[in-house]
């Protein structure tokens, strides 16, 4: 709760700097969104506010509700309860306006086997009411290394190439808000790098990005804020830096002259002879570890501190122990 409050405060500050009169609608505003599929409560009162120009990661284990939330934002599913809006447009009542400003890269690899890459992108432009969009289509294809495949039928493309077309389709109308649902699943390093360069460029130009990914290092490197979902609820929402410093804690590798005191055993992550790797909730906990060692008369021969990563935060929040 404190985390959320802190985060909201931080966002309000950054928001007020950009928009002192609070006139800009949030890029994404989700209030008490609920969605049930049979017995499964896929979303259970989700609140999420993303300001314009942010790059936010939406993380969570499989089945946490990430894709359901994206589907509600995109209008692919209808909420049972709650309000969702994109740039101030309600996704149900003003669905045409909200879809016009939203670009979604779906998780499933779908394509229309009747058309070439260029035809697919021209048709998608037309669906968004754009005529003569070839200049931008060419630019998107160039950024995604699709130019050489422009006149190839979709059926003849490899999986990675089809994934690039999916991304291109989401961007044909230059949407101010872009949602990427695991866009790099199963694609090579080259595409990942070119895709992230392009997405970062779009973010710098003012596009808001919401990203779901299972590659946590990607989220850590790209996102300025992280929302974590578990069982259809937001369990953490904060800047990436705050999450890392508040929740990740640290790891300390110790080479001891004797045995580790029993009181410290719960912190052990790894042990080889007299080498121990301990996971600590905060840096302050290091002091009590050293005090415990002193009291037990165990000398420290070597000590190395390691900063924990987003994976550790993720595992801690989703309720699994770090192995």
């Amino acid at each position: 709760m404190a985390l959320r409050t802190c985060c909201r405060y931080a966002v309000m500050i950054s928001h007020s700097r950009r928009d002192p009169f609070n006139l800009m609608p949030p890029a994404i505003d989700v209030r008490q969104a609920r969605k049930r599929y049979g017995q499964l409560q896929a979303l259970d009162g989700v609140d999420l506010r993303i300001e314009q120009g942010e790059f936010v990661g939406l993380l969570g284990p499989n089945g946490a509700g990430k894709t359901t939330l994206i589907n509600l934002l995109a209008g692919l599913a209808l909420p049972d309860d709650g309000q969702l809006s994109i740039l101030g447009h309600n996704v149900v009542k003003q669905y045409r306006a909200s879809r016009r400003v939203l670009g979604v890269v779906p998780q499933e690899l779908a394509f229309d086997p009747f058309f070439t890459v260029r035809e697919t992108l021209r048709l998608q432009s037309g669906f968004f009411g754009l005529r003569r969009n070839d200049a931008w289509i060419n630019e998107v294809m160039r950024h995604l290394d699709l130019t050489g495949k422009a006149d190839t039928n979709m059926r003849r493309l490899s999986g990675g190439m089809k994934r690039r077309v999916l991304v291109a389709q989401a961007l044909v109308h230059k949407p101010p808000v872009i949602v990427l649902d695991e866009p790099t699943a199963g694609v090579d390093v080259e595409l990942r790098q070119s895709l992230w360069r392009f997405i970062q460029q779009l973010n710098r130009e003012g596009h808001t990005i919401l990203l779901t990914t299972h590659y946590l290092e990607e989220a850590e490197a790209l996102c300025t804020r992280i929302a974590m979902l578990k069982h259809g609820r937001i369990v953490a929402l904060d800047s990436t830096q705050n999450l890392l410093s508040n929740l990740a804690g640290c790891r300390v590798r110790l080479k001891l002259a004797g045995c580790l005191p029993v009181a410290l055993l719960p912190h052990v992550v790894e042990q080889t002879n007299s080498d121990y790797l301990l996971a600590l909730p905060t840096y302050q906990a290091l002091e009590s570890v050293l005090a415990e060692l002193r009291m037990a008369g165990v000398a420290v021969q070597e000590m190395t501190l390691q900063q924990s990563d987003l994976e550790e935060v993720f595992l801690r929040l989703v309720g699994r122990t770090v192995q």
Binding site: Y95, L102, D112, G126, Q169
Partner: protein, 251 residues
């Protein structure tokens, strides 16, 4: 409106890309019916006085091809898109539900009408039916194709697997088409089947369409027009209501 035009263009473009299967194949099928039935029955049957059986068959076969292809167009396009997942590109776009409906139905009508014209032109080798009232021909061709295009939208939304759609086609569309008077006048049927035929909406479409060619029909073309328009309106309202609710499209 550009969204609507683009969706319509996509649907027509799709048909055009596989024109061999979507236009030429049904024309060939209709010609085979014409060849076989006219060969076997032409000497034995005269449905209307002075109208050769081969000529009588042509409007029925035209309409049968139009109805079946209009249905196949919207229903198969939707089920393919749903199963392969590419329906998502249409659902993500700012396309109103009535634009979605209009694009699918209009594309179905176009395919139905092109196939109907194809059957007519090819059948001219065998017989030349008169064109007594072209306006009735056009009205029933348009209404019939639109009606089955709408029914195709409903079936395409309802079906979750190809075999469900095949069931719809084989157990509803085919029997209704074959028992609608394509190959005969209902006056040649026993009273029970004559009465039953009056509950078949396809009968009115074919009978009214045939009236446009020969100026004679089993019942008044105005009655056929009312029934066909009523069915068309009902199916349009049903399709629109389902699309608006997101039935089996937006979960």
């Amino acid at each position: 409106m550009l969204s609507f035009y683009s969706l319509l263009y996509k649907e027509v473009f799709r048909v055009w890309k596989v024109g061999f299967q979507t236009v030429l194949a049904p024309v060939l099928t209709a010609l085979l019916y014409l060849l076989i039935f006219s060969h076997v029955l032409a000497q034995h049957v005269e449905v209307y006085p002075g109208v050769h059986y081969t000529a009588f068959l042509i409007p029925g076969l035209m309409m049968m091809a139009m109805l079946q292809n209009a249905f196949a167009n919207s229903s198969s396009s939707l089920i393919q898109s749903k199963i392969t997942g590419n329906i998502v590109f249409v659902l993500l776009a700012p396309i109103a539900y009535w634009e979605f409906f209009a694009a699918y139905v209009l594309a179905s009508m176009l395919r139905g009408l092109v196939v109907g014209i194809g059957v007519y032109l090819a059948a001219l080798w065998f017989a030349q039916p008169p064109l007594q009232f072209p306006i009735w021909i056009i009205v029933f061709a348009v209404l019939g194709s639109a009606m089955l295009g709408s029914l195709g939208v409903v079936a395409g939304m309802w079906a979750e697997k190809f075999d469900q759609l095949a069931g719809f086609q084989n157990f509803i569309i085919m029997p209704l088409t074959f028992l609608s008077g394509v190959f005969y006048s209902i006056h040649s049927l026993p009273p029970f089947w004559q009465e039953l035929s009056r509950f078949n909406p396809f009968f009115y479409v074919i009978d009214g369409f045939r009236y446009g060619f020969f100026g004679v029909s089993d019942i008044s073309p105005w009655v056929s027009l009312m029934v066909t328009s009523g069915c068309m309106l009902g199916l349009t309202l049903l399709s629109l209501a389902l699309l608006k609710s997101g039935y089996k499209l937006r979960y």
